[in-house]
Structure formats: structure tokens, C-alpha cells
């Protein structure tokens, strides 16, 4: 049993006709991955009590939805998607959009001066993306995306990305914000001068 891959365990289980409750293949599968799921939850939640609750919910969810696993990816990749999605659903509403992101969204928008440039919104978004890419380094981009895009807590990002610098993701957010603000100022100035001409 221990020599079987995850995918083989699932295939065996589906073909075994054994009632799921006493299915040794599924039991092996779940025992094999509970530590992995627990570690993810621990890093996401930041404390062991919440991590245990999250891990319990995730494993129950996996059990109920196992028949939707269709073998397109490895089982572990599918398990990751379930973990990640379940945890992100626990993120509560963000209290307010950070100013710097609001500013960037406004700049990328077609409203205001930009319509005079004759650029389609899509084109504008593409330019803004390139601009963000150029302004930030790789880690800053990842942290900004996970925090502002997915609403992931700063400490969770530090742990899940394994950031080792003293203040972790927070330091990257601070530098990203500074760079984006500088960049936004330059971007705006360029538009102002283009309009005057």
C-alpha cells in the first residue's frame, strides 16, 4: 500500500467497491498528507488552534470532493489548490484599499485625461502592468499581489514564501509602496506634459 502513488491509491479506491468509510486506500492517502496540510495551515493561520480547525475543514472538504479530482494534475497539486482556496475564503473583507493601489488603479483607468490619449482601456492596463513590473523587483511583486490582490495577511505571506529578511513581507511592502508612489508621480507628470503639448 505504501508503495502506491497517490493517484494509484485513488484509482484502486474507485475500483475496489469498498465502502468509503473503511477504504484502506483512502485512509492511506489521507494519513500521508495530513502533515503537509497541517503545515500549510499553520503558516497561513499563524497559530496552532486556528491551524487545526482549518486543516480539519480542508481534509473534510477534500474527502467530500474527491470524486471531482480527475487526474489532470498530480493529486498533491489538486490538494494544494483546495488548501489555498479554502484558506483564502477565510480572509475577511479588507477594511480599505491602500491609497497607493487606488492611485495606480485610477491611473490605469480610461477615465479623465487618458481618454484623450485615444488608448483603449485594455491597452492602458497593459501599460500599467508593464510599469508595475519595471518598478518592483520580483519578491515585491509577489508580496504585493498576494497582499493586495488575494488579501493574504502580511505575516502569512512571510511564512508561506519563506522570507528570511528581518521584517519579512512587511519590508517588501514598504519598499514596493515607496517605489510605486515615485513611479506614479513620474507617470502622472508625463501625462500632464503630454496633454499640454
Amino acid at each position: 500500500m505504501q508503495q502506491l502513488s497517490d493517484e494509484e491509491l485513488i484509482t484502486q479506491s474507485r475500483g475496489s467497491g469498498i465502502a468509503a468509510a473503511s477504504d484502506p486506500y483512502l485512509n492511506e492517502l489521507f494519513s500521508r498528507h495530513q502533515r503537509r496540510v497541517s503545515l500549510w495551515c499553520l503558516r497561513y493561520a499563524g497559530n496552532r488552534e486556528d491551524a487545526a480547525d482549518l486543516a480539519q475543514e480542508i481534509l473534510a472538504r477534500v474527502w467530500r470532493n474527491l470524486d471531482s479530482y480527475q487526474g489532470n494534475s498530480k493529486f498533491t497539486t489538486w490538494l494544494y489548490m483546495v488548501c489555498r482556496n479554502h484558506c483564502l475564503n477565510h480572509v475577511k473583507a479588507k477594511s480599505h484599499e491602500p491609497d497607493v493601489m487606488k492611485e495606480i488603479v485610477d491611473i490605469a483607468d480610461t477615465r479623465g485625461a487618458n481618454t484623450e490619449e485615444g488608448l483603449a482601456r485594455e491597452e492602458h492596463v497593459r501599460l500599467a502592468r508593464r510599469w508595475i513590473n519595471d518598478a518592483l523587483d520580483e519578491t515585491e511583486r509577489k508580496v504585493v499581489r498576494l497582499h493586495f490582490g488575494d488579501g493574504m495577511a502580511v505575516d502569512a505571506i512571510t511564512r508561506l514564501l519563506g522570507l528570511k529578511n528581518p521584517s519579512g513581507a512587511k519590508a517588501h511592502l514598504v519598499s514596493a509602496r515607496r517605489k510605486l508612489q515615485e513611479s506614479a508621480r513620474r507617470w502622472k507628470a508625463r501625462y500632464e506634459s503630454a496633454r499640454k503639448q
Binding site: 497541517s38 475543514e57 472538504r61 480527475q70 494534475s73 489555498r84 483607468d109
Partner: protein
């Protein structure tokens, strides 16, 4: 149009050009091999996509599952706690359930009765098409952006290439939702079917399954409503395709 597109402008700005990588494509990038041209194309996308590069790091960490020394004791506690709970369920008399199955019945989500509130097979009439256009992405809609920030609705499956006709669609429950509306569309946005469910999944009726034919890509999307009938979350659009 990318299946990853959604109405949150911040998310939209923090991703790359073109389609983001599906789970199995991310998986490919973590391993060796694969077609060199395909790998190059994925690498090019990842380089310009904060979403995919972050996702790749998270997946790598999940697969490695290597606790730091300072994490060991908490991890042992969590695993122990899971096993204790399971052990108790297993010892319960007349209860032929394994620990993880017992969890299923204790989970808050199982309180949502797995019945389908209603099923509507829609002939894509003029009224529905009009509704659909109004809510289509790409139209600037600050209301929808606010919804995306208040709760996230993520889809579980089907996604990408599937080898068998899916029997159901499943997604992650949204805490405040009591009802979900599910749309299945063709890639050009033509509505194929609209269903409703109280649970975080819905069975695909036979007539809909019969429309799932090899090589034809379909798109599905879920919207969550709370007890007052207010929209609380909307998923991204997810594509899937039956491969022969």
C-alpha cells in the same frame, strides 16, 4: 479573453499578459522535462506575472512541506490534535466511519443540505442574454469590484482538460452565502445552462452533460447570494474541455 480575468482592478493589474497557468501547468514548471517551446512560453508568462510567480512559490513550498525548526512543535501539536479527534470518532460506538470521514460530518459546511434548490434548463432567450450582457466582465462596474473585495468565491472543478464528462461542478463555500447561481456558457458567452444550489456544488443534469462534447471548451461561473438575496461574491470564469 483570459479565463482569469475578473472585475477587481487591483488583481487585474497584478497579473501577466495572456492566460495564467493552470495547476497542471504550474506543476510542469516545477519539474523537469516537457516540451521546450511550451516551457519557454510558460516561463515568459511567469516572468511578467506576479500572480503566477507567487503561485509557483506557494505550490513549491506546499510540495516541499519542510517545517522550520521553530515550526516543529506547533506542527506536531496540530497533527496530534487531528489524530485525537479522528481517534474519538473512530471509537464512537456503531459508527463505522474513519476519522477523516467523521470530520466531514462535523464540518460547518455539511450543515448546508446537499440538495439543489432548483434546476433551470434555460433556452438562451432574449431576456437571459440581456441579463448576461449587463453583468459581463470588462464593463467597468465598481459594484462588482466591491463585491470581489468583500468575499472570494473560488472554483474547485472541473478545470482545464478533463477525460470524463463531469457529473458536477464544485466550488468553495462562502460563509455568508445561502444560495449560489451557476452559469455554464460557451466561450463566446452564449448561455447553455443556469442552475441554482444551496450547497457548494451542483449536479449537471443529463441534457447539459450531453452538450459536453470532446474538444469543445465550456466556461462556468458561480455567483453567491446571502439571505437577503444580495450578491456577496462572484467567481472568476473557469474553462474546461473534454479531451477524447
Amino acid at each position: 479573453m483570459s479565463p482569469q480575468e475578473n472585475s477587481d482592478p487591483v488583481r487585474d493589474l497584478l497579473r501577466g499578459e495572456g492566460d495564467c497557468l493552470a495547476p497542471e501547468q504550474l506543476e510542469l514548471m516545477l519539474g523537469e522535462g516537457g516540451d521546450a517551446a511550451v516551457r519557454q512560453r510558460f516561463e515568459d508568462h511567469i516572468r511578467g506575472c506576479a500572480a503566477c510567480s507567487a503561485e509557483l512559490d506557494l505550490l513549491r513550498g506546499f510540495l516541499a512541506s519542510k517545517p522550520e525548526p521553530e515550526e516543529e512543535s506547533d506542527l506536531a501539536w496540530v497533527v496530534n490534535r487531528l489524530e485525537e479527534k479522528g481517534g474519538a470518532a473512530e471509537r464512537a460506538p456503531k459508527r463505522n466511519t474513519s476519522w477523516w470521514q467523521a470530520w466531514g460530518s462535523f464540518s460547518p459546511f455539511s450543515k448546508v443540505v446537499v440538495t439543489l434548490a432548483s434546476l433551470l434548463l434555460v433556452v438562451a432567450g432574449a431576456l437571459e442574454l440581456r441579463k448576461l450582457r449587463v453583468s459581463s466582465p470588462g464593463v467597468a462596474d465598481t459594484g462588482a469590484a466591491a463585491v470581489m473585495r468583500s468575499a472570494q468565491l473560488t472554483l474547485i472543478g472541473p478545470s482545464g482538460d478533463v477525460t470524463a464528462i463531469p457529473q458536477k461542478l464544485a466550488w468553495n463555500a462562502v460563509d455568508t452565502a445561502v444560495r449560489y447561481e451557476v452559469l455554464v456558457e460557451e466561450v463566446d458567452g452564449a448561455l447553455i445552462w443556469k442552475g441554482e444550489s444551496a450547497a457548494a456544488e451542483i449536479a449537471l443534469p443529463g441534457p447539459v452533460q450531453s452538450l459536453i462534447v470532446p474538444k469543445k471548451t465550456l466556461v462556468w461561473q458561480v455567483t453567491a447570494f446571502d439571505v437577503r438575496g444580495e450578491k456577496v461574491a462572484e467567481s472568476q470564469k473557469q474553462r474546461f474541455r473534454l479531451v477524447p
